[in-house]
C-alpha cells in the first residue's frame, strides 16, 4: 500500500480489513463474530490480525452453524450491542434465512416499533472460482425482496472502505454483499472518503448513449466495457446500484431520461431478479424516456457448473456487455 497526494492504492481485502479495524476502534459496542474470523484470520483473510489487536471477546470464532450465531447476533443487537456477523459465504446464509427474515427483518414491525435490530451481516459472494453449484450463489435478489432489511452490494473499493461505517449508523439490519473475486484487486481510492450513502446509487461513469445499470462484480466489468466502447465512439454511462433495498430509482431514471437506452447487468439468475425489478420500475416510471426496449444480461438459469468454460459462460462477461451494447446502439 503506497500513499500518494490525495489517493492511496489499496486492495479490496485491505479496504475491508481497515474499515473493520476502524469500526472496532471507534465503538466498543462493535464486535465481529463469524466462522474462522479469529484464529484462522478470516476464511478470505479479511479479518487477519484483528484477533491479535482486539482480543477474543471482540473477535469471536463460532461453530459452523449459521442460524445459531446469526440469531445470537440479532439478540445482541436487540440488547444494545453492534454486532458485525460474518457468514463465510452467502451460500450458507440460507441456513440462517429464518433468523434473518423472520426475526431481524420483522421485530421492529411485530413489536409496533418498540424494538430494532442494528445487526450487520457480511457475506462473501460472487461466482468464478470453479466452486460448483452449492458455493456459487447470487442471493442478492432473495434478500432485496424483504422489507425491513437494508441490502448493500459492495462493488467498488471505495464502498469496501466506507460502506461499513454507514451501515453501523443504521438502526436496522444491514446485509453487506462482499465479492471474493475482487479481494486481491488493487485500486486507487481517495484517502479521505466521506461516509457512504445508504440510499443512493452512484453514477461511476457519465455517458450519453446508453445507461448500464449494474451492481457487485458487474461494476468493474461494466466500467471496463464502457472504456472499450469509448474507443469505438459509444459513450456509456455506468451506474452502480450499491443499495439493492431500498432501491434508488431516482438515479437510474434520471440517467435513462438522458441516454434513452438501458442495459442491466447482474450475475443473479434472470427470473425474479434485481434486473427484473429495475426493469419493472423503468416500465412504470421511465417508459416514455426509452428509445429501445430494456435489455438484460443475467446469470444463465442453470446451477453453476464446475468446468471453467461453462462457469464463465453462465454469467455476464465484459465481452458480453460490449456485444450487447453494440447490438443496441447499432440497431438504429
Amino acid at each position: 500500500m503506497k500513499n500518494s497526494m490525495a489517493t492511496l492504492s489499496i486492495t479490496y481485502r485491505e479496504a475491508l480489513n481497515q474499515s473493520l479495524r476502524e469500526a472496532l476502534q471507534n465503538d466498543e459496542r462493535v464486535f465481529l463474530m463469524g466462522e474462522d474470523v479469529g484464529r484462522y484470520g478470516g476464511a478470505f483473510a479479511v479479518s487477519k490480525g484483528l484477533l491479535q489487536e482486539f482480543g477474543k471477546d471482540r473477535i469471536m470464532d463460532v461453530p459452523l452453524f449459521e442460524a445459531g450465531f446469526v440469531g445470537a447476533g440479532i439478540g445482541a443487537a436487540m440488547a444494545g450491542m453492534k454486532p458485525i456477523i460474518e457468514i463465510m459465504t452467502v451460500n450458507f446464509s440460507l441456513l440462517a434465512m429464518d433468523q434473518i427474515v423472520n426475526n431481524a427483518a420483522t421485530l421492529q414491525h411485530m413489536s409496533g416499533g418498540q424494538l430494532n435490530v442494528p445487526i450487520i451481516i457480511r457475506m462473501g459472494s460472487g461466482i468464478g472460482r470453479q466452486l460448483g453449484a452449492q458455493h456459487s450463489h447470487s442471493w442478492e435478489p432473495f434478500y432485496a425482496h424483504i422489507p425491513g432489511l437494508i441490502v448493500l452490494s459492495v462493488g467498488t473499493h471505495e464502498d469496501a472502505r466506507s460502506m461499513l461505517h454507514a451501515a453501523l449508523l443504521s438502526p436496522d439490519p444491514v446485509l453487506l454483499f462482499e465479492y471474493t473475486m475482487l479481494l486481491n484487486l488493487e485500486k486507487e481510492i481517495a484517502t479521505d472518503l466521506p461516509i457512504a450513502s445508504l440510499s443512493k446509487a452512484k453514477v461511476l461513469r457519465e455517458g450519453k448513449d446508453i445507461s448500464i445499470i449494474t451492481y457487485g462484480t458487474g461494476v468493474y466489468k461494466s466500467l471496463e466495457a464502457a472504456a472499450e466502447l469509448a474507443t469505438v465512439g459509444i459513450d456509456a454511462e455506468v451506474i452502480d446500484l450499491r443499495v439493492l433495498r431500498p432501491l434508488d430509482e431516482f438515479t437510474f431514471l434520471a440517467s435513462i431520461a438522458k441516454t434513452h437506452r438501458v442495459l442491466i447487468v447482474e450475475d443473479a439468475w434472470r427470473s425474479v431478479s434485481i434486473s427484473s425489478e429495475v426493469s419493472a420500475r423503468i416500465m412504470e416510471n421511465g417508459f416514455y424516456d426509452l428509445d429501445a426496449p430494456v435489455q438484460r444480461l443475467c446469470g444463465i438459469e442453470v446451477p453453476i457448473p464446475y468446468p471453467a468454460h461453462l462457469e464463465e459462460a453462465a454469467i455476464p462477461q465484459k465481452s458480453d456487455i460490449i456485444n450487447a451494447v453494440k447490438k443496441m446502439i447499432y440497431r438504429n
Binding site: F65, A67, G75, A77, M78, M81, N102, M110, G112, L115
Partner: protein, 319 residues
C-alpha cells in the same frame, strides 16, 4: 413463600385462566382472528418461573405466550387490545396473539417459529455479559423445539460462552398433534442439557410450588455462577393446540386425567390449608378477576383501528 406471595401467584394463575377462557370466547365470536394458542392448564409454569425473575431480567417466549405476558405483568387490557388488532395493543396491533411485545417489561415476544427465539436469547445474554450486567435471560420453548437444530446450537453457544440463559422447556407432550414419544428419541429432555454440560432438572409443571422452588434454585445458581440452566417443566395443555384443532391425536380420557392435576385447585387447596385464604376470599378473587377481564374486553372493543395511511410504518426504524 408467604401469604402475600401465595395470593399474588393464585391471582396470576386465575387471571391467566379466565383471560384465556374469555379470549377463546371472543375468538368464536370472530373478534379475535389468526392463530390463537391457549395456555390453559400450563399456568403454574408461567407464574412459577416468572416470580423468580427481576425487572432487569429478559424474557423471550413462544406463540403460546399469553400466560407468560400476563405473569410478566403486561396489563390484560394491552394484551386483549393486541388480540383485537387495535392500536392500543402492546404491539400496537401489529403482532396479534402470537407476537406480544413489551420492551418496558423486557418481554421480547411472541416468536411464532418453533425454536427461533433460542439463539436470540443466547445473544441477549451475551450482550449482558459484555455489558457487565448480571441479569438473566429467560427463554420459554416447547418440547418439540428441543428436537430442532437451533436448540442444540443455542445450548452449545450458551455453554461455550458461559452466559446466563434460563432455558425453560414447557413439555406439554404434543408439538401440534405429534406426541413427543413419536418425535424424539430422548424423551427425558433434561439429558439434552447434560450433553452440553448444562445443569438441568425436571419439575412437575402442574405444581406451582414445585415450579417455583425449581426455578428459584436454578436462578440462584445462575446469579452466582453466570452459567446457563435447562429447566424442563412437564405440563399439559387442557385445550386444543390452536382454535383449529379437532384433537384426533389424544384420548379424552388422557385429557381428563391431566385435568385432575389442574394446577389452580391444587394451589388453592394449599393456600386454604395454610389458612392464607378462605373460600369466600377465593370467590372475591374470582369476581375481581372477572371485572378486570371485562375491563380488558371493553378496552379492546373501544380501541382504535390503525389508520390505513400508517400501513407501512415500522418497517424501518423512524429516526
Amino acid at each position: 413463600m408467604d401469604a402475600k406471595k401465595g395470593l399474588l401467584l393464585l391471582y396470576q394463575m386465575l387471571l391467566i385462566r379466565r383471560f384465556e377462557e374469555k379470549a377463546a370466547e371472543q375468538y368464536t365470536k370472530a373478534k379475535i382472528r389468526g392463530f390463537h394458542h391457549l395456555y390453559i392448564g400450563e399456568e403454574a409454569v408461567a407464574a412459577g418461573v416468572m416470580q423468580a425473575l427481576t425487572d432487569d431480567d429478559t424474557v423471550l417466549s413462544t406463540y403460546r405466550e399469553h400466560g407468560h405476558a400476563l405473569a410478566r405483568g403486561i396489563d390484560a387490557d394491552l394484551i386483549m387490545a393486541e388480540m383485537y388488532g387495535k392500536l392500543e395493543g402492546c404491539s400496537r396491533g401489529r403482532g396479534g396473539s402470537m407476537h406480544l411485545f413489551d420492551a418496558s417489561k423486557k418481554f421480547y415476544g411472541g416468536n411464532a417459529v418453533v425454536s427461533g427465539n433460542l439463539p436470540i436469547a443466547v445473544g441477549m445474554a451475551l450482550a449482558s455479559k459484555k455489558q457487565k450486567k448480571n441479569n438473566i435471560t429467560c427463554c420459554f420453548f416447547g418440547e418439540d423445539a428441543a428436537a430442532k437444530c437451533e436448540f442444540y446450537e443455542a445450548m452449545n453457544l450458551a455453554a461455550l460462552w458461559k452466559v446466563p440463559v434460563l432455558f425453560v422447556c414447557e413439555n406439554n407432550l404434543y408439538a401440534i398433534g405429534n406426541a413427543v414419544r413419536y418425535s424424539d428419541t430422548a424423551t427425558e429432555l433434561e439429558k439434552k442439557g447434560l450433553a452440553y454440560g448444562i445443569e438441568s432438572s425436571t419439575v412437575d409443571g402442574m405444581n406451582l410450588i414445585k415450579v417455583m422452588h425449581a426455578t428459584n434454585t436454578a436462578v440462584e445458581k445462575m446469579r452466582s455462577g453466570g452459567k446457563p440452566y435447562l429447566l424442563i417443566c412437564n405440563t399439559y395443555r387442557f385445550r386444543a393446540y390452536s382454535m383449529f384443532d379437532a384433537e384426533l391425536y389424544r384420548a379424552k380420557k388422557e385429557v381428563e386425567e391431566w385435568k385432575r392435576r389442574d394446577p389452580i385447585p391444587q394451589f388453592e387447596q394449599f393456600l386454604l390449608q395454610q389458612q392464607w385464604i378462605t373460600k369466600d376470599e377465593i370467590t372475591d378473587f374470582e369476581s375481581k378477576i372477572n371485572t378486570k377481564i371485562q375491563k380488558a374486553l371493553d378496552f379492546a372493543e373501544e380501541g382504535a383501528r390503525e389508520p390505513l395511511e400508517q400501513l407501512t410504518k415500522f418497517v424501518y426504524t423512524e429516526i
